[in-house]
């Protein structure tokens, strides 16, 4: 049995989350996808809670014992433990209060057990009073979110780099392969296949640079802002100490926003990242379309010769199984680009249409 200001609720003793998480679970059944699906976000959140506890201790408002318990619990989460305790829906009302409270409650209950108390004995370690001390959803959530995005972008740029290298290698391999270059889908002047693949590598390299720029914007955080940026209920020097701990313990060079009120309402860095990702998705979609055109070009040019159907610029030799003229693989890949765009609002659908196996290659993505 646990209580909050709304009343009492029964919770299984196996659970590390508490009454507020349970209410969130009941109230927000939106995506059906729980917070546990984002382990990087949970780790980032735990890390923020740890740094906040250390800063609170240094400011003299959190006891050594409670700080140690919070750090112990946070380290467990950072190591990947207790993931199944994060049951609140990824989408919820407000600015992420349910996620924040889910983290606070799980840390409090792990910490309580570590201190030798039973789960729910919050007088010793409280989710709000201690784990969330000097914080608000409006600073803890975006800070953890930014850290998680920073790490996820790292994975994405690594994937793009692997792809860039693959195109570059093919560029070298096709160095001496002469082909017809085209403009507006029509034969123009000769070039090599190597030049074309090398250009694919270059353009992906440029996107990696743009992602580094978008990633850098996410390093500005607003810890200590609390609810709206005025820093109400946070002690003097806490924000700076918290950021210093984040830097020291993660090695990620986060900086405190100079205007906490602006930083608390601003979503510019997310919009920038969304735009940069869309840029990459559109460009990769264009490359895939070019690959399809390269493969099909023989069919267009020599469409009256049946033999042409059995050949093309490309043979897709995968696992020793060449697939002549089959557009199966690039189709699969092109369709794949629909999904990243889908999440960026209705404009993304234009890209989806473009890749949808229709031959409307260059429908106006940019003017949608």
């Amino acid at each position: 049995m646990e209580h909050d200001f709304l009343g009492e609720k029964e919770i299984s003793n196996d659970c590390y989350y508490g009454v507020q998480t349970l209410r969130a679970k009941e109230n927000f059944d939106i995506t059906g996808i729980p917070l546990s699906s984002q382990p990087v976000f949970i780790k980032a959140f735990a890390f923020v809670k740890k740094c906040a506890a250390l800063a609170n201790r240094d400011c003299g408002i959190l006891s050594e014992e409670r700080t140690n318990a919070i750090c112990f619990a946070a380290d467990k989460l950072i190591a990947g433990g207790y993931t199944n305790q994060f049951v609140s829906d990824l989408i919820q009302g407000g600015a992420g209060t349910s996620c924040n409270m889910n983290v606070n409650e799980v840390i409090a209950n792990i910490g309580l057990e570590h201190m030798g108390f039973a789960k729910g004995q919050y007088e010793h370690l409280h989710p709000n009073n201690h784990v969330n001390c000097s914080q608000s959803t409006n600073d803890a959530y975006p800070t953890a979110f930014r850290l998680a995005l920073y790490l996820k972008i790292k994975d994405f740029t690594k994937a793009l780099e692997a792809l860039r290298q693959s195109f570059f290698n093919k560029g070298q391999e096709f160095d001496g392969v002469l082909k017809m270059g085209r403009t507006q889908l029509q034969d123009a002047v000769p070039m090599t296949l190597g030049q074309e693949f090398n250009a694919f590598a270059t353009t992906i390299g440029e996107d990696i640079l743009r992602l580094h720029e978008a990633q850098k914007l996410l390093l500005e955080i607003n810890m200590g802002a609390t609810a709206i940026g005025t820093g109400v209920n946070a002690p003097e020097g806490y924000a700076e100490k918290c950021v210093a701990y984040m830097n020291d313990l993660s090695g990620i060079p986060v900086v405190l926003a100079h205007d906490l009120i602006e930083a608390t309402y601003d979503t510019g860095a997310y919009v920038q990242l969304s735009g940069t990702m869309k840029r990459s998705a559109v460009k990769l979609s264009k490359i895939c379309n070019d690959l399809r055109l390269l493969q099909w070009s023989t069919l267009w040019i020599q469409r009256n010769q049946p033999a042409a159907h059995a050949t093309g610029f490309f043979h897709y030799a995968r696992q020793g199984e060449p697939r002549y003229s089959g557009s199966h693989e690039p189709n699969l890949l092109l369709c794949n680009w629909r999904r990243p765009d889908r999440n960026h609002g209705s404009r993304g659908r234009t890209v989806a249409t473009e890749c949808n196996g229709t031959r409307n290659w260059f429908c106006p993505v940019y003017f949608a």
Partner: protein
Amino acid sequence: MEPVIGFALFTSLEYITRACYMLKDKCIDGITANAEHAKNLVMQSIGIVTQLNPIIGYEASAGIAKEALKTGKSIHELAVLEKKVITQEKWDEIFSLENLINPKFINT
């Protein structure tokens, strides 16, 4: 607001990251070129008449292109063998692989 942004960005980043590896592993790494066929397409293309432009001029080039389209003859057949507007030697210089990749300006 922010959880919605989070959901969109997290899932987008995951999809596009996985899609990159999929594209690389299942497509790009396995691509081979059909070099002979590609080269034949170049030499049969009317588009290569552009390379002759600085030497024989726009009007003559366009005339050859039109005739090639009409008769199905290659540019080489028309320019070198029939009309003799350039020599075989000059043709070989213009259409060497090196010159096609990094074109020099040839106008005599």
